[in-house]
Amino acid sequence: MLQTAQRTGKPKTKKATPPHERFLEAFRWMLLARTVEEKLVSLYRGGLITGGVYIGKGQEAVSVACGLFLQKNDIFAPLIRDQAGRFAFGEPLVDVTRTYLGSRLGPMRGRDGNIHRGRPRDNQLAMISHLGAMVSVTVGALMAKRFRGEKNFVGLACIGEGGMQAGAFHEGMNIAAVEQVPLVVVATNNHYAYSTPNDREFACDDLVDRAIGYGFEGYSLDGTDLSACLDVIGGAVKRARAGRPPQLVVAEVLRLSGHGEHDDASYVPEEVKRQPFARDCLKVAEQTIIDLNLLDAETLAAWRKEAATQVDEAIATAQKEAAPEGGKEDWSAISTRELADQINDE
């Protein structure tokens, strides 16, 4: 007889012991991300950054895993909260400070700011704000590689649970499956899209259940557990590289900051902050390091110090550098100068 579609059981993650072999490497990028973002926040509070500051606090474990398993030749489409992953993929620290501080030498040269940065020639795509749009762009980049006969590449695109509701995201997922490109999509459900909680974002039991409807393989993940992140996302990257269908990973965390630093997130109830998914992945990872004695206290302190020094240097560098100037700017939106429209009435 007719029957409803079966709900898939919600896959559970289990804490991996001993930790993933790249645990410490990953942890170090997380530390750097947290350090630079904390510094950016304080600069913002001090009025030294124009525009917004958007940080990935609480999402570093998921994010770092997104960047760590990619090779230079792979495509990475990070989003708002992916500082850790950007570092792991190879973004220079100074790109961050230059972009936030509006240096003319940054990758965006002051034309765009904060998280809206990338180095497309180095395979790190530059997100546009419109959420969901970068998934299909990643698909296209992978198709180009296939057209050229490259082998062994993958692409990884990040999304929030909010962005998953955008039409562009749907079209991007579906076209990835139709084209069977080696894509991994990592969705982080941090329980909020700006101020909007999950119950006004979607109404399915588990977002990972969307995988089957696209022909993706789907995995759930406790995003507060670094080892699990490395296992699951690393596994997804490996499977995509090996020619399996596109992969969807849905990680659960809590956004441990405001949407941006202008936002005090007072709409997050205390009770939510006590949920297991609200753990701070960096602290959890640190506890693992201590519990399993992966590093001694001095090394940990030295790592911290080094991160702080690097960040201070990168900020100092960007602050020394010249800002762009309107009068000296090349005001052409296209590279083919002879095709630039001349309105001539200015």
């Binding site: 419109h130 955008a166 909680p197 100037e325 309107g326 630039a340």
Partner: protein, 322 residues
């Protein structure tokens, strides 16, 4: 008492919700205790339970839903988080809301609020002025209030109109403009306003550029020139008569708009004035728009990209010499 442009928008919505049970507000983060990215709906969800609703990140469906509700007799107000994201609702706005009355005889009374225009550090995707795209297509009324009073009365008017209205509210004006109190009734929709009288040159502008134009007029007044500043209020319908009457007095026309230069409101004003008032002009009409690139993030670049008092003064001075 003193009230900002932003507070006027909030008050208008509060009044609308209070007076008309067909009204509801729909958009990202408008509800809960939050009240919108700019707080234009602050407190309203609590005051009007079930009528100020958060939505998923689904611009197409947000407007589609509003259209369906409007067809069924409601008066939805949609807040786009930024005008720039309305590119994703554009199909519903142009091809569904904009065509529905023409096709079926049933009007679609939705109001879409677009937080528009540039502010410092907002960059290419949080600064756009999209009025020209919406005005180009048939079926929409496009409002661009430039004062606190208009922000208030025009929003109330927008919801009263039986047809779809695109209400472009300027983010720069949110906090920068203040009035003493809220007005009773404003000018009728579709009527431009002479914001400052003058006999030497007509500056036609709208939204935040009215303030820049008034500042320019002030500055040139010190040099003895009298600029007349016309605030279009709605770019569609466009009140050609008021503009022509002004040009008849001054003989000179300068149009100022914040959106991109090709096409758009400034081109439209010039096309109408030269068509219907060619003989009124003593000199070539001029216009100032933003530059033809995305809107830059860095304040140095942004202030060069956007029309401002300085270049209005410079252009006006040049035009006055002709």
């Amino acid at each position: 008492m003193s009230i900002t442009y932003l507070e006027a928008i909030r008050e208008a919505q509060a009044k609308l919700l209070r007076d008309d049970e067909r009204v509801f507000i729909y958009g990202q983060d408008v509800g809960g205790t939050f009240g919108g990215a700019f707080k234009a709906t602050k407190g309203l969800a609590k005051e009007f339970p079930g009528r100020v609703l958060n939505t998923p990140i689904s611009e197409d469906a947000i407007v589609g839903t509003a259209i369906g509700a409007a067809i069924q007799g409601m008066r939805p107000i949609v807040e786009m988080q930024f005008a720039d994201f309305s590119s994703l609702a554009l199909n519903q706005i142009l091809n569904n809301a904009g065509t529905h009355y023409w096709r079926t005889g049933v009007p679609v009374p939705i109001t879409v609020r677009l937080p528009s225009g540039g502010t410092k550090g907002s960059g290419p995707f949080h600064s756009q002025s999209m009025e020209s795209i919406y005005a180009h297509y048939p079926g929409l009324t496009v409002m661009t209030p430039a004062t606190v009073e208009d922000a208030y009365t025009m929003l109330i008017e927008a919801v009263a109109i039986d047809d779809p209205v695109i209400y472009c509210e300027h983010k720069y004006l949110y906090y920068h403009l203040k009035a003493d109190k809220l007005p009773g009734k404003g000018l009728p929709t579709g009527h431009a306003r002479v914001a400052r009288e003058g006999r030497d040159l007509t500056v036609v502008s709208y939204s935040a550029m009215v303030q820049e134009s008034l500042a320019a007029a002030e500055e040139l007044a010190r040099e003895g020139f009298e600029l007349e500043v016309v605030d279009l209020r709605t770019v569609k319908p466009l009140d050609t008569d008021t503009v022509l009457a002004s040009v008849a007095r001054t003989g000179r026309l300068l149009c100022v708009g914040e959106s991109f230069p090709w096409g758009g409101a400034t081109a439209e004003v010039i096309a109408r004035v030269t068509n219907q008032g060619f003989h009124l002009l003593d000199a070539a009409p001029q216009r100032i728009n933003a530059k033809d690139t995305p809107i830059p993030y860095h304040p140095n670049l942004w202030s060069a990209h956007r029309p401002n008092t300085k270049n209005i003064v410079a252009k006006a001075r040049q035009l006055l010499r002709e």
